[in-house]
Amino acid sequence: MKTLVKKISPWIGYLLLLLLLPQFFDSVLAVSIFNQMAIAIVFALSYNMLLGQGGMLSFGHAVYFGLGGFLAVHALILIEFETLTFSIIYIPLVGGLFGLLAALFIGSFSTRKAGTVFAMISLGVGELIAASSLIFVSFFGGEAGVSGDRTYGPPFFGVEFFQNIEIYYLAAAWVFIATLFMYLFTQTPAGRMANAVRDNPERAEFIGYSARWVRFISFAAAGFFAGVAGGLFALNYEFITEENLNAVTSGRVLLMAYIGGLGYFIGPIIGAVVLTLMNSLLSNYTELWMLYLGILFVLTVMFLPRGFAGFIMMHQLAWTRGKLKSLALPYVKTGVPATVFLAICVALIELSHVEGEALHYLGLELSQDSGLTWALLLIAATAAFIATRKTLPQLRNAWIEANHMEDSSGEADP
């Protein structure tokens, strides 16, 4: 009973969070960001089924997202012209099924090998479909894409989906269901064998499993959920273009999943939330947000190879031992100058980019023409950098101290 409560409570929390979010932030912008997050979460989780859980590095996952989305928009058009009649709440399922179909076809030859061969086939197929989409105009609509209207379907309990907030609740329901099923998949024999094949495809074959079949199943499932995300995209934006299935979108989902943390189920959710926020909020403040995103990505790969989720989980051991407190002060000591350093770097970058006028930054007004400003910023940056470097060894020692294994902690060999 107790374990059941322990298992179910995160899910109830997740559901409540999804349902209550618009109560706290109800602006048009907030709801539109939540909708984007919902799409990104499903997409990033589906990507993690490939890379994080199945060890398949894909550079073309947007294909299934985009194809699902295109079919979903076409389904909306068919509903509009009354060729079909069903509630639009099922649209993500339509997208999912088409994503599944595409994944079944492409997976039939691409999952034979993992590693570089798989990565290259995914790249080739991705480019091939993105390029074809510009040629086959009647289905893909060329550069302009295709658009539909979500309000023509039969109302769902009186809801006609004119407003974004209505779409949000629909998306939230789909996100919850999709997350739940993707999690449950990890707990099935096929899901666990995907991990085993990721770790050691050769040994998996010697315990009765064809690595290819195991990969194929994960691949198909990932295609299905990517298609669901594409369907959600179609519902939210009511149009879709070639850009949604090309390499840029494929790259973005890789970025989300990686920054969030591939090894953890929750990682891609964190990545999707953080990147969507950066995408929509940061772009309001600076034109250079893509540059910051690139820097963040490269730094994450270098210093947090297991992503944000991995960084959080690193503290689990210290936490269970009650030693998290001993880390707090060193964190502050290093964190403050490091943050100051980064803030000044951003100021320098922004300052060099403003044209003519002064830069308003953190309540300061900085002038590009003043040599003094530049000099002060550079000196402050250097000082903050030195302070960070000086305090770093203390943090490292505190870290080692907090995680130090007292040998024979009840686990001694018999």
Partner: protein
């Protein structure tokens, strides 16, 4: 009854022949050791039987079924399991999951994505039993990649025997272990292969003569003798080709 028989098996890599016409019969319940100098082709022979390599010519029969062209997983499903000379586990899965994965196919789950592992009582109990057998029950939640070497070797054995295969092939199971570790491993091997057929490649002659009731000697891709341990000890050809120095030195 003959469980496994090799008939005139050859294996070439390009111009080089590694296995040059091997005939071998393994009987049910036998503990059969294959010995021979380095480079004799012992590991290659294992790879041929278990399906990692395909034979260049010849036939391999397992319970009267030809298996020389089958894939490793097809062969494994027939009831033939093996371990590896170099530890070959699932490093990021925990110890329990390693064993549970090894059990999945024989418990009939195949590629199921509609059953939850946590609810499969018989499967989970079975996995715990195997863990107890190999003495890793208190490491169940450790990532397999972080175990000590001897423990990884025990896990390697566990994965091989977990599925309850009738024929178990162990490739240098105690390689790299200290003397006391090796002794423990031999006890473990005895325990978990009870009532099963065992084929083993091993360099440590004490262990070979301790465990095996039949020994085949492989030299340059050919079996030069296949007999009981006593007769092998006394076989002049074997002495000359391989054992001489070892036995006199021991």
């Amino acid at each position: 009854m003959t469980v496994l028989s090799l008939r005139n098996v050859h294996k070439n890599f390009g111009e080089t022949s590694i296995i040059r016409g091997v005939d071998l019969d393994i009987h049910e319940g036998e503990k059969h050791a294959i010995i021979g100098p380095n480079g004799a082709g012992k590991s290659t022979l294992f790879h041929l039987i278990s399906g990692r390599y395909h034979v260049s010519s010849g036939t391999i029969l397992y319970k009267d079924e030809e298996i020389q062209n089958k894939t490793p997983y097809e062969i494994n499903r027939l009831g033939l399991a093996r371990s590896f000379q170099v530890t070959n586990i699932f490093p990021r899965l925990n110890v329990f999951e390693n064993i549970r994965c090894a059990l999945l196919w024989s418990h009939g789950y195949a590629y199921s994505f509609w059953q939850l592992l946590g609810r499969q009582q018989a499967l989970n109990d079975n996995a715990m039993e195997v863990l107890q057998q190999i003495g890793l029950e208190n490491r169940a939640n450790y990532p397999a990649g972080e175990l000590a070497y001897a423990q990884q070797r025990a896990l390697e054995l566990g994965i091989a025997v977990a599925s309850g295969a009738d024929l178990i092939m162990l490739d240098e199971p105690v390689a790299g272990m200290s003397h006391s570790e090796a002794e423990k491993a031999v006890q473990l091997i005895r325990k978990i292969t009870q009532g099963k057929t065992l084929i083993m490649v091993e360099h440590d002659m004490n262990i070979v003569f301790d465990v095996a009731d039949k020994i085949s000697v492989l030299v340059y891709g050919e079996i030069i003798a296949s007999d009981s341990p006593e007769n092998i000890r006394g076989n002049a050809r074997v002495q000359e080709a391989y054992l001489g120095e070892v036995v006199s030195g021991a």
